[in-house]
């Protein structure tokens, strides 16, 4: 028994009695200016040319620096220089190569150029690729496999170096988007815009054929017109069309600089076998560098000692100062020394460690929602008293993403071929499917019913209601009205007026499992309100995608997460030439309306303002009337922050906000100590219980032995 108690006490004995027994971090980390958070899935790529998922950009956003960034505090979202001297100079050219004045009609613009000047003096993080010998030659180029036998990770290289960022590094990265070896997710999209990118890809395919798979494909000699250095600190990007939204891409890590030395370094023999490559060990200029990379356990971002310096913004939107968001105005960034990301795949440990103070922030899973959040009679979300007692704060933000239900407009029954009857049928269904109920049941109220394609926070969003579905704000039209529309569509009481056959519709989905089943049952019930039989066609993800590509689905659910805060990034989801079936575009509903398409082309090239708003309003009206989507809902993100975390303001566009975060480490230490005092009475109870078991056994043993004697 004593051994058991000793075993249980051993962690405390080992780590000192003043420390909480359950502290998962080393004692030496106590009181450090570190942010502790989680990652739920190991990132697949940290190479900026390849990383696109949010769990990857969470890291690359802190390490790499594209030319621009989003202002941390200002709303609506505004771009600002990050490594550049001012904003890019955008110039327009006609087909004859003559420069056009700003505001020229989009159809006259044949090319657009972006002239970008970066600030001198920006340096890369320490990295062995830059290490040089006394004679100035690279120290670690020309290595053989046996030279790195003792190397396990990047930190095992004894020497590191750095060098100044140049415009060529940005050009090199843009070339990398076309590299056949990298398979960049935006190559297809960018080749439609960046001049010569597709041709560069063809050239690189040819150039790579003569090289082994692991050999370095040097992109420097492969010049192309789409991106060219015009000086040591300046470069030009040329688009073969008019694409004003391109500037937003310049705030994404896809356009961050990559030094050729890093590629050259990682292409040496033995590196790949050690997982030493840009996917796992980045080389950037940002405020943080990846100092520890064990994607199976934890990843640590540490302050980049060579960071060029940046200060906390001195202005924000109204109310930011009152919320304390300008308390650090003008202070040098980053405000923390380190950020420790721990792999936490299960909800239960993640949630409990947050409550114990070992994670600084947490999302709220459905299982924990009631423990964390309660709704006031007015429907406002607030924290439960337990959470408030711990000083935890609730931060909410409507995501710049949507989740909608689409009708395949190529479907003969419900699509465009069905004409007016199909349109009324779609409108009737739009009324019957009650998304407010869905949000309440399945999302714990974390969402708002969508009235159009644009979510809040995106220019063009209006706080109005969809008159086809709602009689007034928040007042959904009655089922009687839906049934009237259904009747007019030729399906009185859910039956074909001509044949008497029941109306059967098909919902295609890749969702399976108990959670999906309850949602699908709910959906069937919604259609049943109109006496429509909804048949669920569940399939695997691949077949579902195939169906969508072939235009064989009838009704489906889809979603979109904004790449940038421009209405074009949502309305293009309904632009005819972007149809998924046959064209592999993002218009999953295969919707096409000539007026909508014309307005889209017009709106795309307009600057934000009343005129653009007018065009968007008209486009929204067309969509509401045509009802190719049930607009569904915009998810609302809820996150919890401990009281010691400062400068938390949701910024759904920026991915480099870690540098603004502030931590009161002493406060955290006090809270952890208070919240994690080990409860000792169960040890006593356990000891008594064990005695109660041992005592009769001992008596029995004595009796047994005495009997034998």
């Amino acid at each position: 028994m004593r051994n058991w108690i000793f075993a249980l006490l051993l962690p405390a004995l080992l780590s000192g009695c003043d420390e909480a027994w359950n502290n998962p971090y080393p004692q030496e980390d106590a009181g450090s200016n570190t942010l502790y958070t989680v990652f739920e899935e190991r990132p697949k790529h940290l190479d900026p040319a390849r990383s696109y998922s949010s769990n990857e950009v969470e890291f690359t956003g802190q390490i790499y620096e594209p030319p621009l960034q989003y202002h941390f505090l200002k709303r609506p979202y505004a771009l600002e220089p990050l490594t550049t001297e001012g904003m890019p100079a955008v110039r327009f050219w006609d087909a004859a190569g003559r420069e056009l004045p700003a505001g020229s009609p989009p159809e006259t613009i044949a090319r657009t150029t972006y002239d970008i000047s970066i600030r001198p003096g920006i340096r890369y993080q320490p990295h062995p690729a830059f290490a040089v010998l006394p004679d100035g030659k690279p120290r670690y180029f020309g290595l053989a496999a046996q030279d790195i036998e003792a190397i396990g990770t990047l930190g095992d290289f004894e020497y590191t170096g750095s060098r100044e960022l140049t415009a060529e590094d940005y050009v090199y990265e843009i070339k990398r988007l076309a590299s056949p070896r990298l398979n960049s997710p935006i190559f297809g999209l960018m080749s439609e815009y960046i001049e010569g990118l597709d041709e560069l890809n063809r050239r690189l395919v040819q150039a790579g054929k003569g090289l082994s798979k692991d050999a370095w494909l040097d992109l420097r000699p492969h010049d192309f017109p789409g991106a060219q250095a015009t000086g040591k600190y300046s470069f030009r990007i040329t688009l073969k069309t008019h694409y004003p939204q391109f500037i937003y891409w310049l705030a994404m890590p896809f356009f961050a600089p990559i030094p050729w030395e890093a590629e050259r370094f990682y292409a040496q023999p033995g590196m790949a076998e050690r997982n030493l490559n840009l996917d796992w060990f980045p080389a950037g200029t940002g405020p943080f560098m990846l100092s520890e990379n064990d994607p199976n356990r934890r990843m640590v971002l540490a302050r980049n000692p060579n960071f060029h310096g940046e200060t906390y913004p001195v202005e924000g939107e109204a109310g930011d100062a009152a919320k304390g968001l300008l308390a650090d105005a003008g202070k040098p960034l980053p405000l923390i020394e380190r950020a420790v990301f721990t792999l936490e795949k299960e909800d239960i440990p993640q949630w409990n460690k947050f409550l114990q103070g070992y994670y600084d922030a947490s999302g709220i899973s459905s299982d924990n929602f009631d423990q964390a959040v309660q709704f006031s009679p007015e429907g406002e979300a607030d924290l439960t008293p337990d959470m408030k007692d711990k000083g935890i704060r609730l931060v909410t933000a409507v995501a710049t993403s949507n989740r909608y239900m689409g009708f395949n407009m190529k479907d003969p029954l419900i699509g465009q071929a069905g004409g007016e009857a199909a349109r009324k049928l779609r409108q009737a269904i739009s009324i019957a499917v009650d998304y407010e109920e869905f949000i309440s049941i399945f999302l714990n109220g974390r969402g708002i019913a969508a009235q159009g394609a644009l979510p809040p926070g995106i220019f063009g969003y209006q706080e109005d209601h969809n008159p086809v579905v709602y009689a007034g704000p928040g007042k959904r039209r009655s089922l009687a009205e839906a049934k009237r529309l259904l009747n007019e569509a030729g399906y009185p009481n859910g039956r074909n007026a001509k044949t008497g056959e029941p109306l059967v519709l098909y919902f295609d989905t890749a969702a399976t499992g108990p959670d999906a089943k309850s949602r699908l049952d709910w959906l069937i019930k919604q259609f049943r309100k109109l006496d429509i039989q909804l048949v669920i066609r569940a399939t695997d993800y691949n077949r579902f995608q195939d169906k969508m590509l072939r235009g064989n689905a009838q009704i489906f659910e889809w979603g979109w997460n904004a790449d940038y805060p421009d209405p074009e990034n949502f309305l293009f989801l309904l632009y005819g030439p972007n149809a998924k079936a046959g064209r592999n575009g993002e218009n999953a509903a295969n919707y096409g309306n000539p007026e909508f398409d014309r307005l889209f082309a017009q709106m795309k090239g307009m600057a934000n303002g009343p005129e653009r708003q007018q065009v968007i309003d008209r486009m929204t009206a067309i969509l509401r009337e045509d009802a190719p989507w049930l607009f569904g809902f915009f998810p609302k993100g809820f996150s919890l922050q401990h009281a010691w975390v400062g400068n938390v303001k949701p910024n759904l566009m920026a991915n480099n906000t870690l540098k603004y975060r502030r931590i009161d480490a002493a406060f955290r230490e006090r809270s952890r100590a208070e919240w994690n005092r080990p409860v000792l009475w169960p040890l006593g109870v356990g000891a008594i219980a064990l005695l109660a078991l041992v005592w009769p056994a001992w008596r029995q043993y004595r009796r047994h032995e005495e009997g034998r004697a």
Binding site: N23, R297, E346, N352
Partner: protein, 325 residues
């Protein structure tokens, strides 16, 4: 003996090929290379060209079993199956779909697996044997009945329950140990203690009952009666003589799982955040990473075959009457 070992190793080759074929078949029945490409490329801006490029980059652009574009032997050898399988026999696992070297990941991740599996194996074996012998000692008494009921209760409960209960009480409510995670060096101790305790408790019911059956068989034999007649105490009879003779089935049962300790536990590692090979396999299945799944199944099969071979060899050690030919 050496001829026997060689023969058994040769038998292993068709078994491993068979396992490989089944793995291949099962995986690609539910997944196509296109599906895998889509999962890895995400949902945005994915073009058919990107899918083809991904497949070519990862070697999934060949037919699975039969290449009709090739003639003769190449129609069989120039396939995904042969490409992916041959190298496994030289333990070349290749790269995962995210580009990481699988052999290196296995080498790194087997240590956390062992850090959990080895103590669970040793402590579990000791606890099970001790519990079984004690029940033999108290056989026919209320203590034995209570013990059997307790063991049946223990084995009737899902192992998930032990994990959740362990995390809830030990880590959350009483705050004795971290609820999950892993650390290197001495730090590892506080992380592995809870999963080890939970795993030992979860295995106690079935393990102790199984050993009890073995010891019950032994307890009625003549040598036990002789030992008692010599005046040895009952505990000495049990722990010296019965345990020694009962060791043959215990040892052979234990030896077979020894090599598999490297592959870790799928459930325990996932719940406790242990970065071992069990969670590696689970993650690969979730991510539909065929290269890892195939490697882990191959490794598991090879280790199991090795375990069976070791079991046969251990017979000769514990029972001199057994001769391998």
């Amino acid at each position: 003996m050496i001829r026997y070992i060689l023969r058994r190793l040769l038998y292993a080759i068709p078994i491993l090929i068979g396992v490989n074929i089944i793995t291949f078949f099962l995986f690609f029945v539910v997944n196509t290379p296109d599906n895998m490409a889509r999962i890895h490329l995400g949902v945005k801006h994915v073009t058919p060209e990107a899918i083809e490029q991904w497949k070519a980059e990862h070697g999934y652009d060949k037919p699975l079993f039969l290449n009709r574009e090739q003639g003769g032997l190449e129609s069989v050898t120039d396939t995904l199956f042969v490409d992916r399988s041959l190298k496994l026999f030289s333990l070349e696992f290749g790269k995962a779909d995210d580009g990481r070297d699988i052999a290196r990941d296995i080498r790194t991740r087997m240590w956390p697996s062992l850090a959990i599996a080895l103590p669970v194996f040793v402590i579990g074996l000791m606890a099970n044997v001790t519990a079984a012998l004690l029940m033999i000692f108290y056989r026919g008494t209320r203590l034995e009945y209570a013990g059997v009921v307790g063991l049946i209760a223990l084995m009737s409960i899902s192992s998930l329950f032990y994990i959740i209960a362990g995390q809830y009480f030990v880590a959350r409510l009483w705050q004795w140990l971290p609820i999950s995670g892993y650390g290197g060096g001495i730090d590892a101790f506080k992380f592995i203690l809870l999963p080890v305790l939970v795993s030992v408790a979860a295995g106690l019911g079935s393990g102790a009952r199984w050993y009890r059956t073995i010891f019950l068989e032994e307890i009625g034999k003549d040598y036990v009666r002789t030992a008692r007649a010599k005046g040895l105490s009952e505990l000495r009879v049990l722990f010296r003589h019965v345990l020694k003779n009962g060791m043959i089935p215990i040892l052979t049962g234990a030896v077979v799982v020894l090599p598999l300790l490297f592959t870790g536990s799928l459930v325990t590692e996932s719940f406790f955040g242990i970065p071992g090979l069990g969670s590696y396999t689970i993650d690969a299945i979730r991510a539909q990473d065929f290269a890892i799944v195939q490697s882990m199944v191959f490794l598991g099969s090879a280790l199991y075959i090795l375990g069976l071979l070791l079991t046969d060899l251990s017979y000769t050690l514990v029972d001199p009457r057994v001769k391998l030919a």
